[in-house]
Structure formats: C-alpha cells, structure tokens
C-alpha cells in the first residue's frame, strides 16, 4: 500500500557520477545520505530494493548474518537480466554462498593471500614495478600508464601466483584483459571469458599431474581429493584472476590520476619512507575512489530493524561502497583527499563482513609499492591531456580510467 504511494518518487539505480567531479560518488547518492542512510531505489526489473549509502548502516549490514548473498532467492536484486537468467547455470562460489558453505570455499582460496605470504612477494612486486617504469622511461612520450604500468603489474603478479607457465603469460594477459578494452563487444567478452575458463580447466588438469607451489596447484589438489570438481576449481581460479587484477589495475590507474591532481598530497607520499604513512595513503586512496560501482547485492533472510526502518525478509539490499566511504558523519570533508586522514583505515573499499575482499593484502602491497615507486622515480610526471579529456569508465563494474597519457 505504501508501495503505490512512494512509486512516483523512488529514484532509479544505478545513478550517474557527475562529469564535473569524476572522483565523487554520484551526487544523487550523497543527497540521499543527507536525509537517511538507507532508501528505496528502483532497479532494471522494476523492483525497489534498499540502497545503503550511510557508512555505519552499511558496515552493520555487511556483518549481519541475516543478510545473504544467495542470488537464487526470489527478490535478490540482480545486476542485470543476464545475471538473473544464468543464475541456475553458474556453479555456487565464494561470491554466492553463505555461512559454512562460504567458509569452505573461502578457505580454499586463502592460502596464497595470507599477510605473510604477501609480505614475501614484495620484492617480486617491486621488481615487476621497476621493470615497467624502466620501460616507460626508455620509451616515447607521452606514455599511457594504464597499459604500461597499471595493468601489467597486477597481471604478472596474479599469473605467477596462480602458476600460469611463463610461456602462456602473453596469451593469458591478452585474454584476461580483452574484456577490459573500451569498445569490447559483448560477444568478444563472452568468447574471452570462455577461452579463459577452458584455459583454467586445462591448467587445473595439468597441475593435477604436475603440482607446484601455486594457487592452481592448491585447487588441483582439492579436485584430486574429491572435494571439488574440475569446473568448480576453474571457476574459483577465474574468480581469483578477474578479481585479482582488474580491480587493482583500475585502482592504480585512477589513483595515479588522483595523485597528479593533488600535488601536495603526492609530495607527502613521495617524501616519506615510513611504511605506516605509505599504508595509510593507500587506505585513503581506497576511501576516496571506491572503484567498485553499482553496489554489492544482498537479500534479507529475516526482518531487520535498522536506522529507523524495517528491511523485510525477502527484500533486496544494495550496499554501495562509494557513498558509504564519503559519509561525512564518518569521514569529515570526504571530498578532500587527505593521505594522513586518521581513520582512513576504516574505509569500506574492500567491502566488510565475511565477504570482504580475499585478495586485499595483495592489493594493498601492490598499490603501496606502485604509487610510491612511481612518484619517486618520475617526480616530474604530469598528465599529457586536459583533465576533462581523461576517459573514465562510467560504464564498467570497476570504475577507473581507460587510458592515462602522461609526460615527464
């Protein structure tokens, strides 16, 4: 009954960012937060799930066991029709399972991402970063830092972690990044995804026969032990790959741009050797840019009373990281990039709750090394095109820039 009354005022979601402030979350979302931390929005199928834009409410719901990621449930706010129509074809994964089933998947993936394993990778990440910057400095100007640095660093690192043989690196990088091109057609993306999945299936089988110290070998061992199928292993491996390099690549690209636009902040990062200062700077860049757009999708399993509203069992929930990270109640002057911000470590850019990013320690290490090394090694770096001509990825799940031509 209240549904019909509010129908006319329920805003459409997703909302658009402003061209004038490309680092800002969509202004309409920030306006919602000024009124209340959660509001009804209308999505592609006409349903009206709850959109969470407030920090505290978002953090609570992320950690609430009555909030599910099970996308088979009626009322789940799917991203688009394709996701709804393929819901029964996709094997269950770490992204779509709750409670014990989720913990089982999650722990299969965690081995290569522990804090200490990632610390052990720092010298390798530094080496890849230095090689990319050597090539930039030796090459022509302007250089596109997306293709020369932001993409190759995480791609090489994740290839090595997964255990992709060196001779396949080129194929792997091309296939993995094919879908990231600006004008990639849907069928080309589909084809790229299929050949990547087939490649992972073959790789799992290969690692079953000849195991090594890498993530695909770990998954292959579980296939041999009968814990998971080859297809599930390939699905988990593909998930690691996609989540593990596209997101980091986008954060590096748009992070460099944010630093170039805030030269006094870039100076602060360039002139420090303190790992804590560098780490805090990366947390603040994560807060400021929150590149995962279109919201984390959930469904309520039970009635949930929160912030003066009742989310009823079976209603959809969309947790949008960008406005949550720009909630002034938590982060005063959220539109200001402040690399020394005291509570930057509380940012939600990796999500929160039991589905928080499994690769977050790796992403942090990569960003800490890349931003600091780049500012040190090319202190005169500047954008080679006017700021308003930078092509932003408004149309992708992960926000970022398609290219970043720079001179020095």
């Amino acid at each position: 009954m209240t549904e019909t009354l509010t129908d006319t005022v329920v805003p459409e979601y997703p909302m658009e960012r402003s061209a004038a402030c490309p680092f800002s979350p969509p202004p309409a979302e920030l306006e919602l937060t000024e009124v209340k931390p959660l509001s009804r929005v209308r999505i592609w199928d006409g349903s009206t799930p709850w959109l969470i834009t407030g920090y505290e409410t978002g953090r609570e719901l992320f950690a609430d066991s009555r909030v599910s990621v099970d996308d088979r449930k009626t009322g789940f706010p799917h991203w688009n029709e394709h996701m709804l129509s393929t819901v029964d074809k996709r094997p269950r994964s770490v992204f779509t399972s709750d409670a014990e089933e989720h913990t089982r998947f999650r722990r299969m993936l965690s081995k290569p991402f522990t804090f200490k394993r990632v610390e052990g990778l720092r010298s390798a990440i530094q080496k890849v970063t230095d090689e990319c910057i050597d090539a930039v400095l030796a090459g022509p100007q302007p250089a596109d830092l997306v293709t020369a640095l932001a993409l190759p660093v995480p791609t090489v690192v994740i290839s090595e972690m997964l255990g992709v043989p060196y001779e396949d690196h080129e194929f792997f990088q091309e296939t993995a990044n094919a879908g990231l091109a600006r004008y990639a057609a849907a069928d080309a993306m589909q084809k790229g995804a299929m050949s990547l999945h087939q490649y992972l299936i073959d790789l799992v089988k290969q690692k079953q026969a000849n195991p090594a110290e890498d993530a695909v070998s770990d998954l292959a061992e579980r296939v041999t032990a009968g814990e998971i199928s080859v297809k599930e292993a390939a699905q988990l491996g593909t998930g690691l790959l996609i989540a593990g390099h596209e997101t980091t690549a986008n954060m590096i690209g748009i992070g460099i741009l944010a630093l170039l636009e805030n030269p006094e902040q870039a100076d602060l990062l360039r002139n420090t050797d303190d790992p804590k200062v560098i780490a805090n700077a990366v947390e603040e860049l994560m807060r400021y840019l929150s590149i995962i757009q279109n919201g984390q999708r959930r469904i309520a399993l039970d009635d949930i009373e929160i912030a003066g509203e009742t989310i009823k069992a079976g209603e959809g929930i969309i947790l949008d990281l960008a406005p949550e990270n720009w909630d002034p109640a938590m982060f005063p002057q959220p539109d200001k990039l402040d690399l020394a911000r005291e509570n930057a470590g509380q940012q939600l850019g990796f999500g929160y709750g039991r589905h928080q990013c499994v690769g977050q320690q790796l992403a942090r290490a990569e960003m800490q090394i890349v931003f600091h090394t780049l500012l040190r090694r090319i202190p005169t770096l500047k954008l080679a095109i006017p700021f308003d001509e930078v092509p932003f990825k408004h149309d992708r799940l992960a926000y970022g820039v398609y290219s970043l031509p720079c001179t020095w």
Binding site: T103, S110, K111, Q356
Partner: protein
Amino acid sequence: MKVTVDQGKCVSAGNCVANAPDVFDQDEDDGSVILLDPNPSPDRADNVRQAEAACPAHAIFVQD
C-alpha cells in the same frame, strides 16, 4: 588484556596479522586465525584494538 578468537567465524582476511603480528598469525593452509598471545602486554593494546576493529568477521574479542 585478554584476547579470544572464533576460528569458525574467521574468514582469513589477514587484517589481524597486519595490525598486531606479535599477537595473531594465520594458518599456512587456509589463512584462518591463530592466536599467538591470549594475554598481550599493555604496549600492544592499541594494535590489538585495531586488529579487533579491522576484523571483517567480528571473530576477535578483547576484554580489559
């Protein structure tokens, strides 16, 4: 200060080790939390509190 952890809730994010490496470790195979020191000294209190706050699964409990 007394620290306890819930192994069953842990999701292997590693934020406890990042914040208080003297008090927490992770299992090598599945990344789940290992409590190294259930009674950390007062000079580690701040780090332990940060680890508690950073745990996305609320699997760390601290009592004074």
